[in-house]
Symmetry: C2
Subunit: 572 residues, 2 copies
């Protein structure tokens, strides 16, 4: 009762004000319910309690399979535990484990706010985020407990709940997280209203439900305020755009994308809404991934381009009998990867993950491969649940004036977003929020062109454009050309200071190990000169071949590290 009634009373908050009747003369709210994605788990468990919700190889090396009935019960148990102890702001520091999924649903059902943190961050940054976001509790996978040492000392009152990630739910192998779940379920039994209806759930659809943080390559990470409504609509959008409502069966979704990253692009909710199976993963383990792809017939996964590149380069790689729908984003993917990768999306933490898609046009099938890949590499158009994206003149955009660039595929501007798939702002940072929404648009900071068909294509982050001899060189475009070389695996291109040209182009490459390549920098430069699509001024002056490129925790090539290396003359 309490939950349902207060939910209905608070829907949108706009009718119960009583100040004005709606234009249609009704003053009730019977036709409304708040858009909140936590409901999807309650619903999945009600419809199909025995459906496999979770498959996971645990920290103790067991295969754990959990049904939707079990998943829902555990999330509900955690939720009652949080309610019992008055915990409302819950940090999570874990890899893609079942506990992470249970936490996402449990915290939000308790009327709380989730703060997911990247476990690859330095302890300092972890402390900063948990302090800044004012968590009253943290659920932490045992593996990442050392990251909390400093925080625990400075914040002794914050409750730490350790998950051992075993296959046990009780007994000696179960840990404090499992005990919290059991305690919550016992507490539920003592309540007058039990089940989901006894939990606070969503108080209003425009209220905050999570604060994922940006990766913060240049400054302190910023917390993005996600709302119930935004997460719900983004999650439904992802079902439609990635085709998770797979045929008539259930999708089998492999968790290669970190859940801490933009709350896994809202896919914890999307996959649950269609009662798909979550294939959890403690880490990116390519042989294990290939096993799952082959034996479990995975239907969908999302990943940064680099994960795909390395996945395809794995020794266990082979053509699969069943089609797998891969959704790729993060940094702009390079053209040649698309032979295996059909769904190309783009977005950022500030847009709940993906907000654009390169819609496949039937006429592309008749194009030569190079032209087809060029089309597929575009970021495309706004999602079905978004408003259209725009590319606006960057110098005016800074002043909050939105003027579109020409639709000519040449004029470079900033991509901006509008509407429901935009985060509400930065947590406790009105200045940054104001700047983020200058002129009423969410500013991506990414530079792009707008093609005549209204599709956008990213060129570079502003700082990644190389200006050499007065020519603007897109490092992204050049990288996608360099990986066309049959032996090149990945490329990172930067500009280094040059007295004569202002900047000159330097490329860092990795090569495909299994080809036993003997590629030399000189050979690459020669090859680049011969390519018809690489202009003279774009040909790298210097090439360095590395064993590995430096990357951020989310798989983006760290250009700032490459710039450091080039300054110091460092090689690997």
């Amino acid at each position: 009762m309490s939950g349902a009634t207060s939910r209905l009373k608070n829907i949108l908050g706009h009718i119960s004000g009583g100040s004005s009747k709606s234009p249609t003369g009704f003053d009730h709210e019977h036709h409304l319910h708040p858009l909140s994605p936590t409901f999807f788990l309650e619903r999945a468990a009600a419809i199909e309690p025995d459906a496999e919700a979770i498959h996971h190889v645990t920290a103790n090396g067991k295969v754990l399979r959990r049904s939707y009935g079990e998943f829902a019960e555990r999330a509900r148990g955690l939720s009652y535990f949080l309610v019992k102890h008055g915990l409302k702001r819950v940090g999570i520091l874990a890899s893609n484990t079942p506990a992470f999924l249970e936490t996402i649903f449990g915290v939000v059902a308790a009327g709380g706010v989730l703060v997911p943190v990247n476990y690859r961050l330095k302890p300092d940054d972890v402390t900063y985020i948990f302090d800044f976001s004012e968590v009253d509790s943290i659920i932490v996978d045992q593996e990442y407990l050392p990251l909390l040492e400093g925080f625990k000392k400075s914040h002794p009152k914050v409750r730490i709940i350790v998950d051992l990630d075993t296959d046990a739910t009780e007994g000696p192998d179960a840990g404090p997280f499992d005990q919290a779940v059991i305690e919550g379920l016992q507490y539920e039994q003592s309540q007058e209203t039990k089940g989901w209806a006894g939990l606070p759930q969503c108080t209003g659809e425009d209220d905050m439900l999570a604060i994922p943080f940006t990766s913060g390559t240049t400054s302190r990470p910023k917390g993005c305020v996600y709302t119930h409504r935004g997460a719900y609509l983004a999650a439904i959008g992802n079902i439609v755009e990635s085709g998770l409502n797979y045929q008539q069966g259930r999708c089998k979704y492999l968790w290669t994308l970190p859940m801490f990253h933009a709350v896994g692009w809202t896919f914890p909710w999307s996959v649950t809404a269609v009662r798909g199976t979550h294939y959890c993963l403690r880490k990116i383990d390519y042989p294990l991934i290939w096993d799952l792809l082959k034996k479990e017939c995975i239907t969908h996964f999302n990943a940064a381009p680099t994960v795909n590149t390395l996945l395809c380069a794995s020794e266990k790689a082979e053509r699969l009998p069943n089609p797998v729908r891969v959704t790729v984003a993060a940094s702009p993917p390079t053209g040649h990867l698309f032979e295996q990768m059909p769904v190309h999306v783009y977005g950022m933490t500030e847009t709940y993950g993906p907000i654009t898609k390169g819609y496949h046009m039937p006429e592309w099938d008749n194009l030569p491969p190079a032209e087809r890949y060029a089309q597929m590499a575009r970021q495309g158009h706004g999602f079905v649940m978004s408003l259209p994206i725009r590319v606006v003149k960057p110098e005016l955009a800074e002043q909050g004036i939105l003027v579109d660039v020409a639709r000519n595929g040449k004029e470079i501007g900033e991509i901006v977003f509008f509407g429901n798939i935009c985060a509400k702002g930065y947590y406790k940072d009105p200045e940054a929020t104001k700047k983020l929404f200058a002129g009423g648009a969410l500013h991506s900071g990414d530079l792009a062109v707008m093609h005549p068909d209204g599709s956008a294509q990213i060129q570079d982050r502003a700082k990644d454009i190389i200006i050499s001899g007065g020519e603007n060189i897109s490092s992204v475009a050049l990288e996608s050309m360099l990986v066309q070389h049959p032996d090149v695996l990945e490329a990172g291109v930067i500009g280094v200071p040059d007295e004569q040209w202002g900047e000159r182009v330097k490329a860092y490459l990795t090569v495909k190990a299994r080809n036993g390549s003997t590629l030399t920098p000189e050979a690459i430069i020669r090859w680049a000169r011969d390519q018809s699509n690489i202009s003279r001024f774009m040909v790298p002056r210097e090439v360095e071949i590395l064993n590995e490129l430096p990357k951020t925790s989310t798989g983006k090539i760290q250009k700032n590290v490459l710039r450091e290396w080039s300054k110091k003359g460092k090689k690997t």
Copy 2:
């Protein structure tokens, strides 16, 4: 400018009040846009202007193909025409023509309200609806102009715009509707702000956008108030539930379901959102439908069970090489039809069409056919965009008290609905609206049982339950048993007064013509006695074989007509 700004100012109406800041400390609306489905057409035309939007065999016998660019332009033209003439409440009386689709988008983009009317109604009812809904204009297909004779006389000021449904857009074959489109496009050119941005569009997502009417079998038709938000969420729900986001191509949707019926279950918006092709139809013409299924490779259609029955009975029927996803609803379909029909939905005009789905469970594939069909015949669970349905005790439901029946598949109660896929109420009828939402639930008036797995199964409309010798007999259940007879095509069962038993069972049947059946009433009664699933008290005492069953305009068997016939002893 004007459109966008006023739209954002009025989103939900709840933030601009200024009385309170949101809990997260932001007072902007940059992260919101109103949920309104008209945007899908603007978006489709922007992304893929050359995609085929409409295929239609016109009244003058031509095949018309229209792209999304053309579709959008014509809808926009109509919209500017309506704005120019200050027309805000637009009736539409047409079969499933391109003009109907253009009207749906054009009227709503003009900030107007659409009133679709069933062209199979008596002129009296048509007059009643257009008068009651206060239309200021009517778009009418030439074929149905005679239905408006009376209305025109009593309402001379209402503007009538005739559509000839030809393939011409200008010149002698074009009609007043096309001229209105052209006039609107010319008017657009004189405006400062052109395109969709210059149109009023959605003023608030909880505002009314259409008033489809119930079929009104017993009383005057009632107008259901549809909102922008409700239509948007229902349309997206239909994409997910019917799988319109078909693979990577575009769906090809055949319009066998009347667009006047619950605004075509919101499919005009759903199909447009995924840039599918609308295959329009002037009427249910089975040979033409089979041609389209075979030659155009239709991927989806929706229909009442009767349409499917007759479609499968057509001489041109054959197994198709490509799978077609059929979504069936209206009256509860009988089990044996499901060999061809996979998606089973249920709803009513008051719920934007479908609101439940019989989700296919993988374990059904291992059941014997009869048990599998029994499972598939259930109405199932609430849609992903709905709250869960409930089945409540009917005597308490009347008093607005909601108490669930036992989940035993036996206790009969009333199905009730909650949440966003409920219409806002009945237009200008506060009494009926109050009754519709008694106790805060939308009352279906349909009797059902709740199975242990939480899926509901309709038994009958309250008045269709037959009480014979103290036994409750579900006429729907009995009908589904009678059509198991290999020669029976359709069955309609009623109770007729009986001195001894209170009521006795009478069955009206049609037989499969192409079987050249010589079935007699006596043979059916004998056969029914031998069936293990037909209880003794359910065996019909009387059987009549007809050439055709009387049906409503939406394909439901008219039990009231059968009752009349039985009273008068009338035979066909």
